[in-house]
Protein backbone atom coordinates (compact mmCIF):
# COMPACT_ATOMS: atom_id res chain seq x y z
CA UNK A 1 0.00 0.00 0.00
CA UNK A 2 1.56 3.30 -1.05
CA UNK A 3 -0.63 5.59 1.03
CA UNK A 4 -2.41 5.32 4.36
CA UNK A 5 -5.41 7.47 5.30
CA UNK A 6 -3.30 9.38 7.82
CA UNK A 7 -0.77 10.24 5.09
CA UNK A 8 -3.34 11.83 2.80
CA UNK A 9 -2.92 15.49 3.63
CA UNK A 10 -6.01 16.57 1.75
CA UNK A 11 -9.30 15.87 3.54
CA UNK A 12 -10.92 12.65 2.34
CA UNK A 13 -14.35 13.39 0.90
CA UNK A 14 -16.97 10.81 0.00
CA UNK A 15 -18.77 12.27 -3.02
CA UNK A 16 -21.54 9.66 -3.16
CA UNK A 17 -23.33 8.61 0.01
CA UNK A 18 -26.87 8.13 1.29
CA UNK A 19 -29.00 8.42 4.37
CA UNK A 20 -32.18 6.59 5.20
CA UNK A 21 -33.78 3.17 5.02
CA UNK A 22 -34.57 1.17 1.90
CA UNK A 23 -37.48 -1.12 1.20
CA UNK A 24 -35.78 -3.91 -0.69
CA UNK A 25 -33.30 -4.83 2.03
CA UNK A 26 -32.32 -3.91 5.55
CA UNK A 27 -29.86 -1.09 6.11
CA UNK A 28 -28.82 -1.64 9.72
CA UNK A 29 -27.47 1.85 10.34
CA UNK A 30 -29.33 4.27 8.06
CA UNK A 31 -28.97 7.50 10.03
CA UNK A 32 -26.41 10.27 10.24
CA UNK A 33 -25.35 9.69 13.84
CA UNK A 34 -23.78 6.27 13.22
CA UNK A 35 -22.66 7.34 9.76
CA UNK A 36 -20.55 10.12 11.26
CA UNK A 37 -18.96 7.57 13.62
CA UNK A 38 -18.18 5.40 10.60
CA UNK A 39 -16.63 8.36 8.78
CA UNK A 40 -14.48 9.06 11.85
CA UNK A 41 -13.38 5.43 12.03
CA UNK A 42 -12.24 5.54 8.41
CA UNK A 43 -10.65 8.99 8.54
CA UNK A 44 -13.20 10.52 6.17
CA UNK A 45 -13.63 14.26 6.64
CA UNK A 46 -16.97 14.72 4.90
CA UNK A 47 -19.61 12.90 2.88
CA UNK A 48 -22.06 14.17 0.30
CA UNK A 49 -25.43 12.55 0.82
CA UNK A 50 -28.79 12.17 -0.82
CA UNK A 51 -31.70 10.75 1.11
CA UNK A 52 -33.17 7.40 0.14
CA UNK A 53 -36.68 8.64 0.88
CA UNK A 54 -36.21 11.22 -1.88
CA UNK A 55 -34.86 8.62 -4.29
CA UNK A 56 -37.72 6.30 -3.51
CA UNK A 57 -41.20 7.51 -2.77
CA UNK A 58 -41.18 11.11 -1.52
CA UNK A 59 -38.66 13.50 -2.99
CA UNK A 60 -39.81 16.56 -1.05
CA UNK A 61 -39.84 14.89 2.38
CA UNK A 62 -36.55 13.16 1.59
CA UNK A 63 -34.85 16.41 0.65
CA UNK A 64 -36.13 17.95 3.89
CA UNK A 65 -34.48 15.10 5.78
CA UNK A 66 -31.23 15.78 3.96
CA UNK A 67 -31.40 19.39 5.05
CA UNK A 68 -32.05 18.39 8.66
CA UNK A 69 -29.03 16.06 8.60
CA UNK A 70 -26.84 18.86 7.20
CA UNK A 71 -27.95 21.13 10.02
CA UNK A 72 -27.07 18.47 12.58
CA UNK A 73 -23.63 17.88 11.05
CA UNK A 74 -22.19 21.12 9.70
CA UNK A 75 -18.91 20.62 7.93
CA UNK A 76 -19.30 16.82 7.90
CA UNK A 77 -22.28 16.23 5.62
CA UNK A 78 -22.98 18.05 2.36
CA UNK A 79 -26.19 17.40 0.50
CA UNK A 80 -27.51 16.59 -2.94
CA UNK A 81 -30.96 17.85 -3.81
CA UNK A 82 -32.81 14.91 -5.36
CA UNK A 83 -34.80 15.94 -8.42
CA UNK A 84 -38.05 14.19 -9.20
CA UNK A 85 -38.59 14.41 -12.96
CA UNK A 86 -42.28 13.71 -12.37
CA UNK A 87 -42.88 16.99 -10.51
CA UNK A 88 -44.17 20.13 -12.27
CA UNK A 89 -41.41 22.43 -13.55
CA UNK A 90 -42.52 25.35 -11.38
CA UNK A 91 -42.36 23.20 -8.26
CA UNK A 92 -38.88 21.93 -9.12
CA UNK A 93 -37.62 25.49 -9.67
CA UNK A 94 -39.15 26.69 -6.43
CA UNK A 95 -37.69 23.80 -4.44
CA UNK A 96 -34.29 24.26 -6.08
CA UNK A 97 -34.23 27.91 -5.07
CA UNK A 98 -35.15 26.99 -1.52
CA UNK A 99 -32.85 24.02 -0.99
CA UNK A 100 -29.79 25.22 -2.89
CA UNK A 101 -29.66 28.35 -0.74
CA UNK A 102 -28.48 26.16 2.14
CA UNK A 103 -24.68 26.43 2.52
CA UNK A 104 -24.30 22.67 2.86
CA UNK A 105 -26.09 21.81 -0.37
CA UNK A 106 -23.49 20.85 -2.96
CA UNK A 107 -25.47 19.79 -6.01
CA UNK A 108 -28.30 17.87 -7.62
CA UNK A 109 -28.94 14.16 -7.77
CA UNK A 110 -30.77 12.35 -10.60
CA UNK A 111 -31.71 8.68 -10.40
CA UNK A 112 -33.23 7.72 -13.72
CA UNK A 113 -33.70 4.06 -12.70
CA UNK A 114 -35.52 4.60 -9.44
CA UNK A 115 -37.59 7.44 -10.86
CA UNK A 116 -38.18 5.37 -14.01
CA UNK A 117 -37.65 8.37 -16.23
CA UNK A 118 -35.28 8.97 -19.17
CA UNK A 119 -32.33 11.31 -18.73
CA UNK A 120 -33.36 13.13 -21.92
CA UNK A 121 -36.99 13.56 -20.86
CA UNK A 122 -38.48 17.04 -20.33
CA UNK A 123 -38.92 16.40 -16.59
CA UNK A 124 -35.19 16.89 -16.04
CA UNK A 125 -34.93 20.06 -18.16
CA UNK A 126 -35.70 22.60 -15.39
CA UNK A 127 -33.03 21.07 -13.17
CA UNK A 128 -30.49 20.89 -16.01
CA UNK A 129 -31.18 24.55 -16.85
CA UNK A 130 -30.75 25.46 -13.19
CA UNK A 131 -27.49 23.55 -12.88
CA UNK A 132 -26.24 25.15 -16.10
CA UNK A 133 -27.08 28.69 -15.02
CA UNK A 134 -25.69 28.21 -11.49
CA UNK A 135 -22.68 26.08 -12.54
CA UNK A 136 -23.80 23.26 -10.25
CA UNK A 137 -22.82 19.61 -10.19
CA UNK A 138 -25.32 16.86 -10.97
CA UNK A 139 -24.60 13.37 -9.70
CA UNK A 140 -26.62 11.23 -12.06
CA UNK A 141 -27.36 7.53 -11.73
CA UNK A 142 -28.35 6.79 -15.32
CA UNK A 143 -27.90 8.85 -18.50
CA UNK A 144 -29.62 6.70 -21.10
CA UNK A 145 -26.76 6.35 -23.55
CA UNK A 146 -23.33 7.83 -24.28
CA UNK A 147 -24.92 9.80 -27.11
CA UNK A 148 -27.55 11.29 -24.81
CA UNK A 149 -24.88 12.07 -22.27
CA UNK A 150 -22.73 13.84 -24.85
CA UNK A 151 -25.65 15.91 -26.16
CA UNK A 152 -26.73 16.88 -22.64
CA UNK A 153 -23.22 17.77 -21.51
CA UNK A 154 -22.77 19.94 -24.62
CA UNK A 155 -26.08 21.70 -24.29
CA UNK A 156 -25.75 22.32 -20.54
CA UNK A 157 -22.06 22.97 -20.70
CA UNK A 158 -21.78 24.80 -17.36
CA UNK A 159 -23.39 21.96 -15.45
CA UNK A 160 -20.83 19.54 -13.98
CA UNK A 161 -22.06 16.05 -14.64
CA UNK A 162 -20.81 13.19 -12.48
CA UNK A 163 -21.59 9.71 -13.75
CA UNK A 164 -22.53 7.67 -10.70
CA UNK A 165 -20.85 4.25 -10.59
CA UNK A 166 -19.40 4.60 -14.09
CA UNK A 167 -15.86 4.06 -12.88
CA UNK A 168 -16.79 1.15 -10.62
CA UNK A 169 -18.85 -1.00 -12.94
CA UNK A 170 -16.13 -0.91 -15.60
CA UNK A 171 -14.22 -4.19 -15.59
CA UNK A 172 -10.94 -2.64 -16.69
CA UNK A 173 -10.92 -4.61 -19.95
CA UNK A 174 -13.74 -3.75 -22.31
CA UNK A 175 -14.20 -0.54 -24.22
CA UNK A 176 -16.81 1.65 -22.54
CA UNK A 177 -18.22 4.52 -24.61
CA UNK A 178 -19.39 6.29 -21.46
CA UNK A 179 -15.80 6.58 -20.32
CA UNK A 180 -14.86 8.02 -23.71
CA UNK A 181 -17.44 10.78 -23.20
CA UNK A 182 -16.11 11.44 -19.70
CA UNK A 183 -12.60 11.73 -21.08
CA UNK A 184 -13.56 14.07 -23.92
CA UNK A 185 -16.13 16.34 -22.29
CA UNK A 186 -14.66 18.94 -19.92
CA UNK A 187 -17.78 18.97 -17.74
CA UNK A 188 -18.14 15.21 -17.22
CA UNK A 189 -16.57 13.14 -14.44
CA UNK A 190 -17.02 9.57 -13.19
CA UNK A 191 -17.29 8.25 -9.68
CA UNK A 192 -15.94 4.92 -8.54
CA UNK A 193 -18.70 4.24 -6.08
CA UNK A 194 -20.03 0.71 -6.39
CA UNK A 195 -20.28 -2.66 -4.75
CA UNK A 196 -18.37 -4.63 -7.38
CA UNK A 197 -14.69 -3.89 -7.87
CA UNK A 198 -12.78 -5.82 -10.53
CA UNK A 199 -9.14 -6.72 -10.12
CA UNK A 200 -6.83 -4.12 -11.63
CA UNK A 201 -9.62 -1.92 -12.96
CA UNK A 202 -8.87 1.21 -10.95
CA UNK A 203 -5.27 1.69 -12.13
CA UNK A 204 -6.50 1.15 -15.70
CA UNK A 205 -9.20 3.76 -15.17
CA UNK A 206 -6.61 6.24 -13.94
CA UNK A 207 -4.50 5.51 -17.03
CA UNK A 208 -7.52 5.92 -19.29
CA UNK A 209 -9.10 9.09 -17.89
CA UNK A 210 -6.36 10.68 -15.83
CA UNK A 211 -6.76 11.05 -12.07
CA UNK A 212 -8.57 14.41 -12.21
CA UNK A 213 -11.64 12.90 -13.80
CA UNK A 214 -12.30 10.42 -11.00
CA UNK A 215 -14.29 11.06 -7.84
CA UNK A 216 -14.36 8.69 -4.90
CA UNK A 217 -17.64 7.56 -3.37
CA UNK A 218 -18.82 4.78 -1.11
CA UNK A 219 -22.62 4.46 -1.23
CA UNK A 220 -22.52 4.52 2.57
CA UNK A 221 -24.96 3.82 4.31
CA UNK A 222 -25.89 1.12 1.81
CA UNK A 223 -22.30 -0.06 1.93
CA UNK A 224 -19.45 0.30 4.35
CA UNK A 225 -16.82 2.85 3.27
CA UNK A 226 -13.90 0.68 4.41
CA UNK A 227 -13.74 -1.45 1.24
CA UNK A 228 -13.97 1.55 -1.09
CA UNK A 229 -11.25 3.34 0.84
CA UNK A 230 -8.90 0.37 0.76
CA UNK A 231 -9.55 -0.09 -2.95
CA UNK A 232 -7.91 3.27 -3.63
CA UNK A 233 -5.20 3.03 -0.99
CA UNK A 234 -4.05 -0.41 -2.20
CA UNK A 235 -4.28 0.31 -5.93
CA UNK A 236 -0.61 1.18 -6.31
CA UNK A 237 -1.39 4.76 -7.36
CA UNK A 238 0.95 7.64 -6.66
CA UNK A 239 0.43 9.76 -3.57
CA UNK A 240 -0.78 12.65 -5.75
CA UNK A 241 -3.25 10.47 -7.65
CA UNK A 242 -4.58 9.01 -4.41
CA UNK A 243 -5.05 12.44 -2.91
CA UNK A 244 -6.89 13.71 -5.99
CA UNK A 245 -9.24 10.76 -6.13
CA UNK A 246 -9.97 10.58 -2.42
CA UNK A 247 -10.69 14.24 -1.92
CA UNK A 248 -9.21 16.98 -4.05
CA UNK A 249 -11.38 16.27 -7.05
CA UNK A 250 -14.60 16.15 -5.04
CA UNK A 251 -13.77 19.46 -3.38
CA UNK A 252 -13.05 21.05 -6.77
CA UNK A 253 -15.98 19.61 -8.73
CA UNK A 254 -18.54 19.96 -5.95
CA UNK A 255 -17.27 23.39 -4.90
CA UNK A 256 -16.69 22.40 -1.28
CA UNK A 257 -13.54 24.40 -0.48
CA UNK A 258 -15.21 27.36 1.23
CA UNK A 259 -17.66 25.09 3.07
CA UNK A 260 -14.87 22.92 4.42
CA UNK A 261 -12.77 25.94 5.34
CA UNK A 262 -15.65 27.58 7.20
CA UNK A 263 -16.36 24.37 9.10
CA UNK A 264 -12.70 24.01 10.03
CA UNK A 265 -12.53 27.55 11.39
CA UNK A 266 -15.69 27.20 13.52
Amino acid sequence: MKSKPSEIEHPIVDSHAHLGAWGRFRIPYPDDEIMIQTLDRCGIAAACVSHNLALGVDWRAGNQRTLAALDRNPGRLAGYFVVSPHAPAAQIESELNHFLSHPGMCGLKFHTDLHAYPFSGPGYEPALEYAHSHRLPILTHGWESPQTLERTASRFSEARIILAHAGAVWNGRDEDPNLRVAKEMPNVWVDICGSVAYFGALPRLVDLLGPKKILWGTDCTWFDPGPALMRVLAAGLSHAETSMILGENAVAVLGLAAWLQRAASE
Partner: protein
Protein backbone atom coordinates in the same frame (compact mmCIF):
# COMPACT_ATOMS: atom_id res chain seq x y z
CA UNK B 1 -8.41 -19.41 -8.25
CA UNK B 2 -5.29 -20.11 -10.22
CA UNK B 3 -4.89 -20.89 -13.90
CA UNK B 4 -5.69 -19.10 -17.13
CA UNK B 5 -8.82 -17.00 -17.29
CA UNK B 6 -11.35 -16.63 -20.11
CA UNK B 7 -11.40 -12.91 -19.39
CA UNK B 8 -8.13 -12.03 -17.68
CA UNK B 9 -8.25 -8.99 -15.46
CA UNK B 10 -5.41 -6.50 -15.92
CA UNK B 11 -2.45 -7.54 -13.81
CA UNK B 12 -4.35 -10.36 -12.14
CA UNK B 13 -2.31 -13.37 -10.96
CA UNK B 14 -2.82 -16.63 -12.84
CA UNK B 15 0.21 -18.66 -11.78
CA UNK B 16 1.12 -19.85 -8.31
CA UNK B 17 4.15 -17.58 -8.19
CA UNK B 18 2.14 -14.50 -9.24
CA UNK B 19 -0.55 -15.30 -6.71
CA UNK B 20 2.03 -15.55 -3.95
CA UNK B 21 3.48 -12.18 -4.94
CA UNK B 22 0.03 -10.61 -4.75
CA UNK B 23 -0.68 -12.29 -1.42
CA UNK B 24 2.60 -10.93 -0.06
CA UNK B 25 1.71 -7.44 -1.26
CA UNK B 26 -1.61 -7.62 0.55
CA UNK B 27 -0.39 -9.38 3.67
CA UNK B 28 -2.32 -12.60 3.06
CA UNK B 29 -0.52 -15.60 4.52
CA UNK B 30 -2.47 -18.54 3.09
CA UNK B 31 -5.24 -19.21 0.62
CA UNK B 32 -7.67 -21.90 -0.42
CA UNK B 33 -7.50 -22.18 -4.20
CA UNK B 34 -9.19 -24.04 -7.03
CA UNK B 35 -8.15 -24.25 -10.67
CA UNK B 36 -9.76 -22.34 -13.54
CA UNK B 37 -9.60 -25.46 -15.74
CA UNK B 38 -11.74 -27.27 -13.18
CA UNK B 39 -14.36 -24.53 -13.38
CA UNK B 40 -14.40 -23.82 -17.10
CA UNK B 41 -13.14 -26.97 -18.83
CA UNK B 42 -13.13 -30.22 -16.84
CA UNK B 43 -13.32 -30.68 -13.07
CA UNK B 44 -11.13 -33.77 -13.12
CA UNK B 45 -8.49 -32.23 -15.43
CA UNK B 46 -8.46 -29.03 -13.41
CA UNK B 47 -8.30 -30.80 -10.07
CA UNK B 48 -5.30 -32.81 -11.28
CA UNK B 49 -3.62 -29.67 -12.58
CA UNK B 50 -4.25 -27.99 -9.24
CA UNK B 51 -2.34 -30.68 -7.36
CA UNK B 52 0.57 -30.44 -9.76
CA UNK B 53 0.80 -26.68 -9.59
CA UNK B 54 0.41 -26.41 -5.81
CA UNK B 55 2.96 -29.09 -5.06
CA UNK B 56 5.42 -27.92 -2.40
CA UNK B 57 3.52 -24.73 -1.56
CA UNK B 58 2.42 -24.87 2.07
CA UNK B 59 0.66 -21.49 1.80
CA UNK B 60 -1.81 -22.62 -0.85
CA UNK B 61 -4.40 -25.23 0.07
CA UNK B 62 -6.08 -27.17 -2.73
CA UNK B 63 -9.84 -27.10 -3.18
CA UNK B 64 -11.39 -29.46 -5.71
CA UNK B 65 -14.27 -28.51 -7.96
CA UNK B 66 -16.91 -31.21 -7.68
CA UNK B 67 -19.95 -32.22 -9.76
CA UNK B 68 -22.38 -35.16 -9.35
CA UNK B 69 -21.04 -38.60 -10.22
CA UNK B 70 -24.14 -39.87 -12.05
CA UNK B 71 -22.85 -38.92 -15.48
CA UNK B 72 -19.67 -40.90 -14.97
CA UNK B 73 -17.33 -37.93 -15.10
CA UNK B 74 -16.35 -38.16 -11.44
CA UNK B 75 -15.50 -41.13 -9.26
CA UNK B 76 -18.10 -42.53 -6.91
CA UNK B 77 -18.56 -40.27 -3.86
CA UNK B 78 -16.64 -42.67 -1.62
CA UNK B 79 -13.75 -42.86 -4.09
CA UNK B 80 -13.83 -39.11 -4.62
CA UNK B 81 -13.45 -38.41 -0.91
CA UNK B 82 -10.71 -41.04 -0.61
CA UNK B 83 -8.81 -39.46 -3.52
CA UNK B 84 -9.22 -36.02 -1.98
CA UNK B 85 -7.96 -37.05 1.42
CA UNK B 86 -5.10 -39.08 -0.01
CA UNK B 87 -4.03 -36.01 -2.00
CA UNK B 88 -4.35 -33.66 0.96
CA UNK B 89 -7.42 -31.90 -0.44
CA UNK B 90 -9.56 -30.71 2.45
CA UNK B 91 -12.20 -28.59 0.72
CA UNK B 92 -14.60 -28.84 -2.23
CA UNK B 93 -16.29 -26.18 -4.33
CA UNK B 94 -19.43 -26.41 -6.43
CA UNK B 95 -20.91 -24.20 -9.16
CA UNK B 96 -24.40 -25.70 -9.41
CA UNK B 97 -25.83 -23.17 -11.89
CA UNK B 98 -22.74 -22.87 -14.05
CA UNK B 99 -22.30 -26.66 -14.15
CA UNK B 100 -26.00 -27.38 -14.70
CA UNK B 101 -26.85 -29.55 -11.72
CA UNK B 102 -28.92 -29.30 -8.61
CA UNK B 103 -27.41 -29.03 -5.16
CA UNK B 104 -30.48 -30.59 -3.53
CA UNK B 105 -30.08 -34.05 -1.97
CA UNK B 106 -32.17 -35.78 -4.68
CA UNK B 107 -29.38 -34.93 -7.16
CA UNK B 108 -26.21 -34.41 -5.14
CA UNK B 109 -27.06 -36.23 -1.93
CA UNK B 110 -24.60 -39.11 -2.21
CA UNK B 111 -21.68 -36.78 -2.72
CA UNK B 112 -22.91 -34.51 0.06
CA UNK B 113 -23.16 -37.49 2.39
CA UNK B 114 -19.60 -38.57 1.64
CA UNK B 115 -18.26 -35.06 2.14
CA UNK B 116 -20.23 -34.73 5.38
CA UNK B 117 -18.88 -38.03 6.67
CA UNK B 118 -15.32 -36.72 6.21
CA UNK B 119 -16.30 -33.20 7.42
CA UNK B 120 -14.93 -31.74 4.18
CA UNK B 121 -16.15 -28.13 3.86
CA UNK B 122 -18.24 -27.41 0.77
CA UNK B 123 -17.98 -23.95 -0.80
CA UNK B 124 -21.10 -23.09 -2.78
CA UNK B 125 -20.72 -20.56 -5.59
CA UNK B 126 -23.92 -19.53 -7.40
CA UNK B 127 -21.93 -17.31 -9.75
CA UNK B 128 -23.49 -14.13 -8.46
CA UNK B 129 -22.10 -10.91 -9.89
CA UNK B 130 -24.27 -8.39 -8.03
CA UNK B 131 -26.23 -8.28 -4.80
CA UNK B 132 -29.45 -7.33 -6.61
CA UNK B 133 -29.63 -10.62 -8.50
CA UNK B 134 -32.42 -12.98 -7.53
CA UNK B 135 -32.04 -15.00 -4.34
CA UNK B 136 -30.87 -18.10 -6.12
CA UNK B 137 -29.99 -21.21 -4.28
CA UNK B 138 -30.95 -20.45 -0.70
CA UNK B 139 -33.82 -22.98 -0.52
CA UNK B 140 -31.28 -25.59 -1.68
CA UNK B 141 -28.82 -24.47 1.02
CA UNK B 142 -31.56 -24.92 3.62
CA UNK B 143 -32.29 -28.44 2.36
CA UNK B 144 -28.62 -29.42 2.31
CA UNK B 145 -27.95 -28.11 5.81
CA UNK B 146 -31.07 -29.83 7.10
CA UNK B 147 -30.18 -33.15 5.51
CA UNK B 148 -26.45 -33.07 6.35
CA UNK B 149 -25.98 -31.20 9.63
CA UNK B 150 -22.33 -32.28 9.92
CA UNK B 151 -21.39 -30.86 6.51
CA UNK B 152 -19.70 -27.44 6.72
CA UNK B 153 -21.37 -25.33 4.02
CA UNK B 154 -19.72 -22.05 3.02
CA UNK B 155 -21.76 -19.76 0.77
CA UNK B 156 -19.55 -17.39 -1.24
CA UNK B 157 -20.11 -13.93 -2.76
CA UNK B 158 -23.32 -13.05 -0.98
CA UNK B 159 -24.07 -9.37 -0.57
CA UNK B 160 -26.17 -6.89 1.32
CA UNK B 161 -29.55 -8.35 0.39
CA UNK B 162 -29.43 -11.53 2.49
CA UNK B 163 -30.00 -10.14 5.97
CA UNK B 164 -33.75 -10.77 6.06
CA UNK B 165 -33.35 -14.54 5.86
CA UNK B 166 -29.75 -15.54 6.43
CA UNK B 167 -30.02 -15.07 10.18
CA UNK B 168 -32.76 -17.68 10.34
CA UNK B 169 -30.50 -20.18 8.59
CA UNK B 170 -27.37 -19.30 10.55
CA UNK B 171 -29.25 -19.74 13.82
CA UNK B 172 -30.69 -23.06 12.67
CA UNK B 173 -27.59 -24.63 11.12
CA UNK B 174 -24.39 -24.63 13.14
CA UNK B 175 -22.23 -25.64 10.15
CA UNK B 176 -23.39 -22.87 7.80
CA UNK B 177 -20.86 -20.11 7.04
CA UNK B 178 -20.68 -16.97 4.91
CA UNK B 179 -17.59 -15.99 2.94
CA UNK B 180 -16.99 -12.23 3.13
CA UNK B 181 -15.60 -11.14 -0.25
CA UNK B 182 -18.87 -9.39 -1.15
CA UNK B 183 -20.49 -8.98 2.26
CA UNK B 184 -19.95 -5.23 2.52
CA UNK B 185 -23.03 -3.58 3.95
CA UNK B 186 -22.55 -0.65 6.29
CA UNK B 187 -21.03 -2.18 9.46
CA UNK B 188 -22.21 -5.57 8.22
CA UNK B 189 -19.43 -7.59 9.85
CA UNK B 190 -19.85 -6.17 13.32
CA UNK B 191 -23.64 -6.42 13.01
CA UNK B 192 -23.37 -10.09 12.05
CA UNK B 193 -20.83 -10.82 14.77
CA UNK B 194 -23.04 -9.08 17.32
CA UNK B 195 -25.90 -11.44 16.47
CA UNK B 196 -24.13 -14.72 15.75
CA UNK B 197 -20.52 -14.45 16.91
CA UNK B 198 -17.39 -14.36 14.77
CA UNK B 199 -17.18 -18.10 14.03
CA UNK B 200 -19.53 -18.13 11.06
CA UNK B 201 -17.72 -15.70 8.76
CA UNK B 202 -14.75 -16.64 6.57
CA UNK B 203 -12.56 -14.04 4.89
CA UNK B 204 -12.33 -14.39 1.11
CA UNK B 205 -11.25 -12.19 -1.78
CA UNK B 206 -12.68 -13.56 -5.04
CA UNK B 207 -9.27 -13.15 -6.69
CA UNK B 208 -8.40 -12.95 -9.52
CA UNK B 209 -11.72 -11.65 -10.85
CA UNK B 210 -12.40 -9.23 -8.01
CA UNK B 211 -10.28 -6.65 -6.20
CA UNK B 212 -9.00 -8.26 -2.99
CA UNK B 213 -8.38 -4.96 -1.26
CA UNK B 214 -12.11 -4.41 -0.65
CA UNK B 215 -12.75 -7.32 1.72
CA UNK B 216 -9.45 -6.51 3.43
CA UNK B 217 -10.62 -2.94 3.96
CA UNK B 218 -13.95 -4.20 5.24
CA UNK B 219 -12.26 -6.31 7.89
CA UNK B 220 -9.57 -3.80 8.88
CA UNK B 221 -12.03 -0.93 9.40
CA UNK B 222 -14.77 -3.05 10.93
CA UNK B 223 -14.12 -2.13 14.54
CA UNK B 224 -14.14 -5.81 15.52
CA UNK B 225 -11.84 -6.77 18.33
CA UNK B 226 -8.63 -8.66 17.56
CA UNK B 227 -9.97 -12.11 18.41
CA UNK B 228 -13.05 -11.73 16.23
CA UNK B 229 -11.07 -10.25 13.35
CA UNK B 230 -8.45 -13.02 13.56
CA UNK B 231 -11.16 -15.68 13.55
CA UNK B 232 -12.72 -14.26 10.40
CA UNK B 233 -9.35 -13.56 8.76
CA UNK B 234 -8.22 -17.17 8.97
CA UNK B 235 -8.89 -18.90 12.25
CA UNK B 236 -12.32 -20.18 11.27
CA UNK B 237 -11.17 -21.67 7.99
CA UNK B 238 -8.10 -23.25 9.61
CA UNK B 239 -10.37 -24.81 12.21
CA UNK B 240 -12.63 -26.28 9.52
CA UNK B 241 -9.71 -27.64 7.51
CA UNK B 242 -8.12 -29.14 10.60
CA UNK B 243 -11.42 -30.85 11.49
CA UNK B 244 -11.43 -32.87 8.26
CA UNK B 245 -11.31 -36.56 9.13
CA UNK B 246 -8.40 -38.50 7.66
CA UNK B 247 -9.23 -41.41 5.38
Amino acid sequence: MIGPSRTPQPGAPESVSDLLVEMDRLGIAEALVYHSVARWYSPTDGNAALLQELKGNPRLHPCWVVVPHHAGEMPSPADLVKQMLDAGVRAARVFPEEHFFFLEPWCFGETLAALAEARIPLLVDWGKRHWSEALRGWPAIQQVCEAFPQLPVIVVREGIAVDRFVGALIARHQKLFLETSYYMGHRALETFVGRFGAERLLFGTGMPLYDPSEPIGMLLTSGLNGDAARSIAGGNLRRLLNAVRPS
